[in-house]
């Protein structure tokens, strides 16, 4: 059983004055403009917490995050390719707590009672909220591919959440002999970071090219096409010759079984592929707390009203980032940050008794095919008739661009990383 201790200090001034649960309006009238609890200090959650405080410092904001330091998936492929050290993709919560007065609770959010407006932590502590923001990112669908469970991931990493998994994959790549085979199994849509698997093999190819030039890379794909496909394939050929082989769904690319001990995978039609280093990017769903809160659909993702990112299923819970259904916006860090800002504006407006503003988002996913070869896909999004739609224009980098254009996009990719890390966590590169 859970002990219902309350974290008084995290509730700020309101907690002292009120049993605010039953009297939220009174709580506001007495000084605090409202209480927000945010779960997840990644791209979406950290941005939402910061931008609520930027818009109205009188709102009490508590951030619940499992880890004391955040490592980004963006640029983790550069680490895998030996182009960055791991700490360079790590970020602290110092700006949020020090400059913005966000209360940080390092712990695991376990359960939500949407009627009572409470969040229960694994420690047993209970937090009350007027508005809850969930940005838990993804969870792996363990067992969706036969043989791929948590124990298997200790031998065959997914490295689709940055941390120990990413380091494990890097160690295996370093230990691999020249002439070895690296296999990446890519999932069907929707999943976190549509161009991510293809950037990953690119930067591993770059590492192999200089360190293990006789090695081979195979992508076994559960799809027949992928993000920025033409640009990736042209870049692979230009930089790595025939080192990278892509096997589409129609060519029996879908992996149905993993033998982690043997580092083997089996595809739909019974072909066995043996790898020296194996990376399974498995099917995914919204982080577990979204299920616990009752905001997910049959697909495992959270449908939201795009104007506010409030759940369509449970009031006063806003779901942003990878966990939400925001298509055609991709599940990217850029999108999560942009959604965090829109949700923050909507929450601040709601506390003030105002209508939310017209939302607007952009997304750009930069990918590096080599250290000096960048490509991107860029779009602006708006809401029409209650749905997110792609605004005019946008699209991918030109197919016929010269080397100088690719080089500049690689430089801007780094500029993007510095800017979004600064905007989200206050990190100064």
């Amino acid at each position: 059983m859970i002990t219902r201790r309350k974290i008084l200090k995290s509730l700020g001034a309101t907690a002292l004055a009120v049993p605010a649960l039953s009297m939220p309006l009174v709580a506001r009238a007495q000084g605090a403009a409202g209480r927000v609890v945010v779960v997840g200090g990644g791209f979406g959650g950290a941005t939402a917490a910061k931008y609520i405080k930027r818009r109205n410092p009188d709102i009490a904001v508590t951030l619940v995050e499992a880890n004391s330091r955040f490592y980004t998936c963006p640029f983790s492929n550069l680490y895998l390719g030996g182009l960055r050290d791991f700490e360079s993709i790590g970020h602290s919560y110092d700006e949020l707590t020090g400059d913005y007065g966000v209360e940080l609770v390092t712990g695991w959010a376990q359960d939500v009672d949407g009627d009572a407006h409470t969040l229960t932590l694994a420690s047993g502590d209970v937090l009350e909220y007027d508005k809850l923001v969930l940005s838990p990112g993804i969870d792996i669908r363990w067992g969706a591919i036969e043989g791929y469970d948590e124990a298997a991931a200790e031998l065959v990493p997914h490295a689709w959440k940055a941390g120990p998994q990413t380091r494990l994959l890097r160690e295996q790549l370093e230990a691999m002999e020249d002439g070895g085979t690296f296999i990446l199994s890519a999932p069907d849509n929707p999943f976190r970071c549509p161009p991510g698997p293809y950037e990953r093999v690119s930067l591993i190819a770059n590492y192999f090219k200089t360190n293990k030039p006789n090695s081979k890379i195979i992508i076994l794909d559960a799809k027949d096409n992928f993000s920025k496909q033409g640009l990736f394939q042209a870049g692979w050929e230009a930089l790595y010759g025939d080192m990278i082989e892509w096997v589409s769904l129609s060519n029996d690319g879908r992996v149905v079984r993993v033998d982690a001990e043997a580092r083997e995978v089996e595809t739909e039609f019974g072909v066995i592929h043996k790898a020296d280093v194996l990376n399974v990017v498995p099917p995914q769903k919204a982080g577990a707390i979204a299920d616990a809160a009752g905001v997910t659909n049959e697909g495992g993702w959270a449908p939201v009203d795009p104007v506010t990112f409030e759940s369509r299923l449970v009031p006063d819970i806003h779901v942003i980032g990878d966990a939400s259904v925001a298509a055609p916006m991709p599940k990217s860090g850029f999108s999560a940050n942009a959604q965090g800002k829109v949700a923050a504006a909507a929450i601040v407006a709601a506390f003030a008794g105002e209508e939310p503003s017209e939302p607007s988002w952009a997304n750009t996913c930069y990918s590096l095919i080599g250290p000096e070869y960048g490509i991107s896909v860029a779009n602006v999004y708006k809401v029409v008739d209650g749905e997110v739609v792609v605004a005019d224009g946008g699209g991918v980098s030109p197919a016929d661009a010269d080397a100088e254009f690719r080089r500049r996009e690689a430089v801007y990719a780094e500029g993007w990383y510095d800017a979004i890390a600064n905007d989200t966590w206050g990190t100064v590169a």
Binding site: V307, K341, A349, G353, S376, V380, G394, S397, N422
Partner: protein
């Protein structure tokens, strides 16, 4: 950009999201529109990295640059020509005004 909270609206807000889902304020908040520019140009347009800062540039310069991006006439554009097409002329004017004032 904020209007004064009114009591009736405050009560409406406590049940918001369902009845009012989809409703938006008539005059939209420029900081919402500008927020996505921060992801590349830095918070409020002050860049910490290789993408140019746009804060505090003259309005006319910013507007001319954005219009050139949208028209596909900016030499050396890599990504802005693809993004600027997503905004109306009025939105570009509002963005140029906002960043010129930062």
């Amino acid at each position: 950009m904020r209007t004064q909270p009114i009591m009736a609206a405050l009560f409406a807000a406590s049940v918001i999201g369902f009845g009012l889902a989809g409703a938006v304020k008539a005059d939209s908040d420029i900081t919402v529109l500008a927020g996505t520019c921060y992801n590349c140009h830095g918070t409020e347009g002050r860049s910490p990295g290789s993408i140019p800062s746009i804060a505090g540039q003259p309005y006319a310069v910013l507007l001319a640059q954005l219009q050139a991006f949208k028209a596909g006439e900016a030499r050396n554009a890599t990504v802005m020509s693809r993004l600027a097409t997503g905004y109306t002329d009025e939105e570009l004017e509002a963005l140029a005004r906002y960043f010129s004032e930062q």
